[in-house]
Amino acid sequence: MGSLPKWASKPCIMGIDEAGRGPVLGPMVYGCLYCASSYLKTLATLSFADSKTLKEEKREELFEGLKANDSIGWDVDVIDPRELSAKMLKRTKINLNEISHNSALGLIDRVLKMGVLLTEVYIDTVGDPGKYEMKLSKSFPSIKFVVAKKADSLYPVVSGASIVAKVTRDHALKEWVLDETAENMHRNFGSGYPGDPQTKSWLGDHRHSIFGFPTLVRFSWGTCNTYFKDIAEVLWESDDLDEDGGSNNKNGKRQLKLSNVGFISKRSEEIESSGKGRCRFFEARKLELLTHF
C-alpha cells in the first residue's frame, strides 16, 4: 500500500458501482473511486460516463488515465463466483442484494481505514434505495450517503467507479484460470450474460452430468436449471430441512412439512435416524446392524 496522498485528509467524496451482477458466470466486482471534494469540478471534465455506454477501448483508456491520476484513489472488491454460489446456496441462504451491500460496506470500511476522510458517498442502488441508505448510514454515521437509481450516469464519481469495476471484471474474466482440468474445455465465455449466444454455447459445451458446470459458473442462477434438467439429480441433506428445498417426492415433502409444525425435537430425531428401536448410542451415530444387503 502506497503512502496516503495529502488530499485524503481533506473532505473526500467517493462513488461506488458494481459490474457483473447479472451474468451467470465469472466474478462480481464492486469498484470505488474517491477524490477530494475540491477536485470534483476537474473530475467532471474527465469524460467519465456510465461504463455500459462506453466502448471497451475507451473504458480501458479511461481506467489507465485514472490509475495514473494522483488526485484520484480507487479500489475494488472481486467476489469470486464460487463465493457467490456458495453463499446463495448456504443452509441459510444469503441473497445477492445482501452480498452486494456487504461488498459496498467493505469498500467504504477499507478506504476509511486507509485514513481517507470520506464525507460523502454516492452509490447506485441495489434493492430499495431508502432501506439501503439507512443500512449504510447506520454503519457509517459520519458519512452522507446519496443512494440513487442510475447513479452511474448521474454522478461522474460513480461513473468513474463503474469504469473501475467494469474493466476489472472484464480483465478477471479474460484471465480466469479454470479450476477444472478436463479436456475439451475452452474459454469463449462471451460476456457471461445469460442471453449472450456465446455464453449460451459455452454453457452448453461445459455442462457436466455429475458436476453440473465448472466453478466459474454461478450455480445459484436460475439460468443453470435449464441446463440441469437431464443431469444426475443431487439431493442435499440440508434441503431436507428446508421446507422450500427440492425434495424428491410430493408425499415426502408434505410429511416433512407436517412434522415441522411445532415439533422441533421430533424433527431432529427423524433426521438422526429413521430406524426405530435402536439403542440411542447407535441412533446418534447413524449406525445400524445390516443383515441383508
Binding site: K90, A232, E233
Partner: protein
C-alpha cells in the same frame, strides 16, 4: 438371499488402493458409475480447525464443502465391494473386493468438521466393540468380584 458371502482381500494383483480418493459427501448423487472426479473435484487445504482437525475445502454443485481426512483406525481397512456377477453363483449373494482404502475424507455442507459430527462419532463404536468383545481374563474376573 440364503447365503451371503463377502470375500475380503487386502492385497492382490488387481487391487487398487483408493487411499486419498474416498469421499463421503453430504448429499446423494443419483448416479452409479465412473465420473471424472479428479478433474472437477479439487479439495484445497484450508488450515486447521479449532479442534485441531486439518481442514479442506471444496465445491460441489455450487455448494461450499468443508471436510477433513481421517485415517482408519489401526487394525481396520476400508473395502470397496461389488456383487459378483450372478450367473456364476445364481443362488448366493456374493461380494468381492474391488479396491481398498486406508483413509476417508468426509465433507460437511457449510460447517466445519468437528468431533461431534455423527461420522466421527461412529468410530466410537470400534472402541466400545473392542471392550465388549475382548475375552475377560481370570485376573480381571477376580478383581471385579473383589470390588463386588
Amino acid at each position: 438371499m440364503e447365503k451371503t458371502s463377502i470375500d475380503l482381500k487386502r492385497d492382490g494383483m488387481e487391487m487398487e488402493d483408493l487411499s486419498g480418493r474416498v469421499h463421503q459427501l453430504p448429499c446423494s448423487v443419483k448416479f452409479d458409475g465412473p465420473a471424472s472426479v479428479s478433474h472437477y473435484f479439487k479439495p484445497k487445504p484450508s488450515g486447521v480447525g479449532d479442534e485441531g482437525l486439518p481442514l479442506q475445502q471444496a465445491h460441489f454443485r455450487g455448494r461450499l464443502l468443508q471436510g477433513t481426512t481421517l485415517n482408519l483406525p489401526h487394525g481396520y481397512s476400508g473395502f470397496v465391494l461389488a456383487k459378483k456377477s450372478p450367473d456364476d453363483n445364481s443362488n448366493s449373494n456374493s461380494w468381492e473386493t474391488k479396491a481398498t482404502f486406508r483413509d476417508i475424507t468426509y465433507w460437511n455442507h457449510d460447517y466445519v468438521p468437528s468431533h461431534n459430527d455423527e461420522f466421527l462419532r461412529a468410530f466410537h463404536w470400534l472402541t466400545l466393540a473392542k471392550a465388549l468383545h475382548n475375552p475377560v481374563t481370570p485376573e480381571e474376573l477376580a478383581s471385579s468380584s473383589n470390588v463386588l
